[in-house]
Amino acid sequence: MHVLTPTCDPLSTVTDEFPLGRPALPLGDNEMPTAARPFGVTLAVEPTTVEPIDVNALSYDTHRQVGMIRDGEELVPLARHTDGRTSTTTASRDGTPQDGDEDTRED
């Protein structure tokens, strides 16, 4: 969940709409530019394990309503094929925001 993102989660909640960050007039003229970055951001590191996934091997079974992955010549259910490490990695690459649980090896 992300607060006040411009194009928010489709079911963004009341709490997510916590009314902070409305447009406002600046107060005074002391808003100086800064070269700093938020301290927390500077502590981020490269993920230790990135398990690439071939997105072209993925598909969706509209009848069973589950993800599938090509394994050689056959399509197999994604959930029972992977050990689950690929989801977040892929999400990180494609720009999908994650919710509050930020495990790097999700699903």
Partner: protein, 328 residues
Amino acid sequence: MGSPGTVLVLTQWFDPTADMVVDELNRRGVPVFRCDPGDLPQRLTLNAELGMGWAGNLRLDTGRTLDLAEVSCAYYRRPARFRYPAGLTDADQRWASRESLRGLGGVLHLIPRWLNHPAAIGRAEYKPIQLDTARRVGLDVPRTLITNDHKRAATFAAELGGRVMYKSLSTSIIRGPDGDAPRILYSTPVAAEQLDPAGVRLAAHLFQEPVSKSHELRVTYVDGRMYTAQIDATSDTGRTDWRADYENLTYSVTELPPPVAAAVCRLMDALNLRFGALDLVVTPDGRHVFLEVNPNGQWGWIEDATGLPIAAAIADALTVEQERGHHD
């Protein structure tokens, strides 16, 4: 929305964890309608009319249709953002997203049973709320400071021996300034002298007392049932934050002491959550220290590693006719 029947699964199509639950529901012969609300408008159509209540349907471009009256329970997983055809301006996309949020989101909010209701997830995602609630229900919680005042942060660190743990309050995925590959923000030990005044000033930062660890626990809570995995890390990196070194973790099944389990139930009740993935530390002297609850947390890899039947428990929770009473 009334008669029980179909489980509505709200998530993007690529969600192997949701797949495990859908598979289980399919095996049980439970009707399932899975859709990504973000597919509105391109692949999803909404019709809802107010009569004696909101009535209508969701229709996928595959032809699959859900009568909203048939929804018995909704499972909120990982919906994506609304997506639009090329050509819409950013401003039009933002406006359309807000309208669809209020329209689709508003109608879906009225579904009577959820795991979890998005509003409950949204509230519980606020760490100040969950930490305070955990403290009030009797869980052991580390000393915690939220501030953008580096002097206060430095004093806090000094009180704790010169080092604190920094943890993010929201997302752990950090984008670089130039569109670089994302970086990850794990729980990070920080010395007082590292605290950059200008950087701390720029945002609220959460600092916590470091907790000595024997091992950690991942507790998956489903409607009063708890599935507890012990996580042992064999590297320094993993001992600091197990998310940072999955290759050097081992998992085993364990149980919470009854008083801790009872406190977890009180926490989940207080946060109005039927599901949550909780992280706790067990100290060398056996204390169970609450770190956080992820109200929409991941659990698939825990089931894979331990065999704990979490997907089945979620399927149970999505199909019980009455709310399960929490044990005390």
